[in-house]
């Protein structure tokens, strides 16, 4: 097992290099460049200014050299400085965005689990019942409704009409003057709408997944056996069926690892949340190469790591895979 894990980890290195090379080429193929934002259609940006800016960012060198330098820095985990006017360290820019993105994603993933799993189980056990139908319609509504539209409606209701919740942002203007408890409460109030909305949108996929897993398991012979033994239904469902139906969830969890740090642009834009999604979007729009590369590399690493974790986790809980 250990050898397997080590081998997989070593394999991620060439994979990461390959992914980063492709990313690097693709973003450099996009028209325009980092100095465009400051110099395009700007009468003061003469050809000389442009050349100096290019030299300042090292953009005057051949592409393979630029990539080589980037790779060399990455080997020491140095993400470099952003090309945006603030010129800050890419690591700092990413680090300050992670907490809020992570918090929203973990909380909404939690909601999805705690709501979707019971819905899935119950819908499967009582297939075609009223509950099954209503919950199906509800979760699909959540899936189908455009997030930004629902978000606006909820903002109007809770923010403007009722005045219960703040509309956007992370904290109130006077946040710093609040007591410790007041500050915590302030943050919670700002997170309610984004987290609920993110959760609502994700219910459908997960609950349907759980339901079909469950239906699959219920048809198995060992469930029939358990029922035939005269076990109460509750025991059959929870001890025998659910445990097996939950297995594929590990895969989903593994695949969710990179999503934890990836924010949605639409979502963050509508709630004015400075998260990873906006950071990446702005990076792409301003062709901030070091920032884009930094985020892509982290994303690629987390994806590979998530896959590995899922495989290992699977092997741990399912003896059939371990021995096979």
């Amino acid at each position: 097992m250990l050898r397997y894990v080590v081998r997989r980890l070593l394999l991620t290195i060439p994979l990461l290099v390959g992914i980063s090379l492709i990313s690097f080429l693709v973003i450099h193929m996009a028209p325009g460049g980092p100095i465009g934002a400051a110099s395009d259609l700007n009468p003061k940006a003469t050809a000389e200014v442009r050349e100096r800016l290019k030299a300042y960012y090292g953009l005057d060198q051949p592409l393979y050299l630029q990539y080589g330098r980037w790779l060399g820095r990455m080997a020491t985990l140095d993400f470099g400085r952003s090309f945006s006017p603030d010129g800050r360290q890419v690591v700092d820019k990413i680090r300050e965005r992670i907490p809020v993105t992570l918090a929203i994603n973990v909380l909404s993933l939690g909601i999805i689990f705690f709501v979707a799993i019971p819905i899935g189980i119950y819908s499967a056990v009582r297939k075609d019942s009223w509950f099954d139908r209503i919950s199906t319609v509800t979760v699909f509504t959540g899936f189908a409704i455009p997030t930004f539209w629902l978000a606006l409606l909820l903002m109007i209701l809770f923010g403007v009409k009722l005045g219960w919740l703040p509309i956007s942002g992370l904290v109130s203007l006077e946040h710093d003057s609040f007591s410790l408890a007041g500050r915590a409460w302030d943050r919670v109030r700002h997170l309610v709408l984004p987290v609920l909305l993110a959760g609502f949108g994700g219910l459908a996929g997960f609950s349907r997944y759980m339901r079909s897993n469950m239906l699959e398991v219920i048809r198995q012979d060992y469930i029939a056996t358990a029922k035939a033994k005269g076990l109460p239904e509750r025991l059959v469902v929870f001890r025998h069926a659910v445990r097996n139906a939950l297995l594929p969830v590990i895969t989903i969890l593994g695949l969710s690892v990179p999503d934890l740090l990836g924010g949605s642009v639409i979502f963050e834009t509508i709630f004015a949340i400075p998260g990873m999604g906006q950071l990446f979007y702005q990076g792409v729009m301003s062709r901030d190469y070091p920032l884009i590369m930094g985020i892509l590399t982290i994303g690629a690493f987390l994806t590979l790591l998530g896959n590995l974790l899922a495989d290992v986790g699977y092997a741990l809980v399912d003896p059939r895979i371990r021995t096979g």
Binding site: P31, S39, P85, R97, F148
Partner: protein, 389 residues
């Protein structure tokens, strides 16, 4: 600074604040100083307190400001990317001021409830939108074609449709009402018959399906504009209708900004564009109209060239005599209006809304922000009291 020849826009072109020498001289390369990026220090009415990227910037009043301490103790600028969210924040009282869109100004704020809490202002903005032609294009080389297109466009409909009436028709590249603006230039008002006549004089005659043709070639072209600018894409859609009425088929293409500049403007791969310029306080527009500014990455990308305009542009920037400058720029406007290298479309209005708590605002032609340091909130109406010292 010393110039070889007089250069009128010089003072305005420096546009740089006073820098703190004692904090910069320790750095060999001042671009490495944290002052630029992390904690700017200047001599303005407000002092930098805090910047949370993507979230907010906070400023406190500078008690030593040379015109006196501003009345508002703290100013917070919030970053809210979405227009709809921004508007809801305003309505819920989360923010005190924002710039409204024409739609919000005319349709969503005409309620007693809104008026009870907010003052709305309206003044001419410092920018204009135009339809620019690549003048080396075989269709648009001919002045008559450009004049014909100008006559086919009903600018009033653009102002009504795109700006909900909150703006005015443009006839030149300056802000209406300013000293340099010349209202008496040759005009090509909406007149489809005249448009057809002008186009016919240029050799464009209706073909079997009504589309204009010349030498068997139909009058079809593509107008480009940048993606994400709603008023420009609306403008394009309305222009498409106007031009179709005189037999010109115009396709619309919107392109992401960087690609728009690098792939189309820089490479001169466009027929026509819908874009805008901001109008600077100094009237020098050498960079936009001079035939010496048609090179790569330069601003005269339509390729406009007129010896008289070149001479007048030089004249205008080489004298500080406002009357002489005015004469030069008036004449430039006449020539531009006659030659129509751009069809100047409209000048929008700025539409700020500010909470009624805030007093001392005195609207002027330049807008409302000029006396910001004298804005205040009377005792009793003050909302954020924790900042006060």
């Amino acid at each position: 600074m010393e110039y070889e020849k007089p250069f009128a826009p010089a003072l305005a072109s420096w546009g740089m604040s006073i820098l703190p020498k004692h904090l910069l001289e320790t750095y060999e390369d001042i671009s490495k100083s944290p002052l630029n990026k992390e904690h700017p220090i200047g001599t303005g009415p407000y002092k930098f307190v805090e910047w949370k990227p993507g979230e907010r910037v906070v400023f406190d009043a500078n008690p030593d400001y040379f015109e006196g301490r501003p009345y508002l103790q703290r100013v917070v600028t919030r970053v809210i990317p979405d227009q709809a969210t921004l508007f809801l924040e305003l309505k819920s009282g989360g923010i005190d001021s924002m710039n409204l869109t024409p739609l919000q100004y005319t349709r969503q704020t005409e309620t007693d409830e809104f008026r009870k809490s907010y003052n709305k202002f309206r003044y001419t903005a410092f920018n204009y939108t135009y339809l620019g032609f690549r003048l080396s294009h075989p269709f648009f080389k001919d002045k008559k074609v450009r004049q014909g297109i100008a006559c086919a466009i009903r600018k009033k409909e653009l102002v009504d449709g795109v700006l909900f009436g909150l703006g005015q028709e443009a006839i030149g590249p300056y802000k209406p009402g300013t000293w340099v603006y010349n209202p008496d230039v040759p005009k090509f008002p909406y007149d489809p018959e005249r448009a057809k006549r002008l186009l016919a004089e240029a050799g464009w005659k209706p073909g079997t399906d009504g589309t204009l043709e010349k030498g068997g070639q139909p009058f079809r072209f593509t107008v480009l504009t940048n993606a994400g600018n709603e008023s420009r894409s609306k403008t394009a859609a309305i222009l498409q209708q106007h031009l179709a009425a005189v037999g010109i088929r115009m396709e619309i293409r919107t392109v992401e900004w960087a690609a728009f500049i690098n792939e189309f403007i820089d490479k001169r791969k466009f027929d026509a564009v819908i874009l805008g310029w901001s109008i600077t306080p100094d009237p020098d527009q050498y960079d936009i109209w001079s035939s010496k500014k048609t090179g790569p990455k330069e601003l005269n990308f339509v390729g406009y060239s007129n010896p008289e305009v070149d001479r007048l542009l030089e004249e205008g920037r080489r004298t500080f005599d406002i009357e002489k400058r005015k004469k030069a720029y008036f004449r430039i406007q006449e020539i531009l209006a006659e030659e129509q290298p751009y069809v100047f479309l409209y000048v929008p209005d700025s539409l700020p809304a500010v909470h009624r708590r805030i007093h001392g605002i005195e609207p002027a032609p330049i807008g409302i922000a000029y006396n910001f340091i004298r804005w205040y909130v009377p005792k009793g109406q003050q909302k954020y009291t924790s900042f006060q010292k």
